[in-house]
Chain length 159, copies 2
DNA sequence: CGGCTAAATGTTATATAATAACAGTCGGCG
DNA sequence: CGCCGACTGTTATTATATAACATTTAGCCG
């Protein structure tokens, strides 16, 4: 992925996108000795089905319908596992979650969030101005949240 | 404020900072015909007391103690008024609120959030890389959320 | 294999954050 | 004064997230 180019909003072969996302995560888990259990895998698959940010309770409904646990902690554990290991991201501005488009790679993600269709594009960008602000006040950054909310190209064309 | 230089984390005359914040907002409300009612003014004052991001319910407790309404809608209305008019900001990563350090001026704020002391520095920065990503996919940005969580200089010196 | 241990899951309950809906009140203006 | 729109009061509910503890499972080691 070229730096700065967002993935997820543009037309693409989504079946391949999903399959690829899953197999990458499987490989990484194998590598690192992480256990991609049934609930975790299924949660990831649900997120991979679209680039729309899903709320934890939306995911939970899906899991519950399949008999994979009906209580909030089930889905929050799975989501936290995915987020902690870089397989998914939390969209703070929406209290939602999306699968990562380049799982495993350390990156500071930035998101383009369409308020019309809910889809989220993910880009890996440098945050030079933010880094500079942090340097200026001797602040040690551990995590960044960079999100832009607006309207995607498709929704502007077909309102 | 020089662009990119964060305000709020560095030592400063906070009494002046508070007074200034309040009088600027008063002036802007006068200008624009906005009503800075008792609950709104008091909410702003509470936020101005520190650069710590406060939860809505923390503000509510303070308001309730002073007899200014004990129910959530009271504080959410006041906070929404302040945020909508650029007098305060929501810190998405914390579900908290801070007073704006340059109220009234249109700006894309960026925040440095100390996870140790909770204080929040605010800077006005350009988001060139993010803008470029948006341009690349013909995405119309309406609002940006830029936050960095970490540890401020003071907390790193005095752990 | 058998049993120990750590990790993961199941479950109940509760904390925290935010809004819907509607009735009542206040303030400016004709 | 009396109307109207903005603001406030209040009840109830929805949405998001976690605490705490019991139980089960998977992997390891003897």
């Amino acid at each position: 992925m070229a730096e700065g180019v967002p993935t997820g909003l543009s037309p693409h072969d989504h079946a391949a996108c999903r399959a690829d996302g899953l197999s990458r995560v499987e490989a990484i888990c194998e590598d690192r000795g992480l256990r991609l259990t049934k609930a975790r895998r299924r949660t990831l698959e649900i997120l991979l089905e679209s680039h729309v940010a899903l709320g934890a309770y939306e995911v939970l409904e899906r899991l519950a319908a399949e008999g994979l646990g009906a209580q909030p902690p089930v889905v929050y554990r799975a989501l936290n596992f995915l987020v902690d290991n870089g397989f998914a991201h939390k969209i703070e501005g929406r209290n939602g979650f999306v699968a990562c488009v380049s799982p495993g790679a350390e990156h500071d993600p930035a998101f383009l969030i369409c308020r019309a269709c809910g889809r989220v594009g993910e880009a890996t960008i440098a945050t030079r101005e933010l880094d500079r602000s942090a340097d200026l006040s001797d602040f040690a950054v551990e995590r960044t949240v960079v999100e832009a909310e607006g309207v995607c190209a498709r929704c502007r064309k077909e309102p």
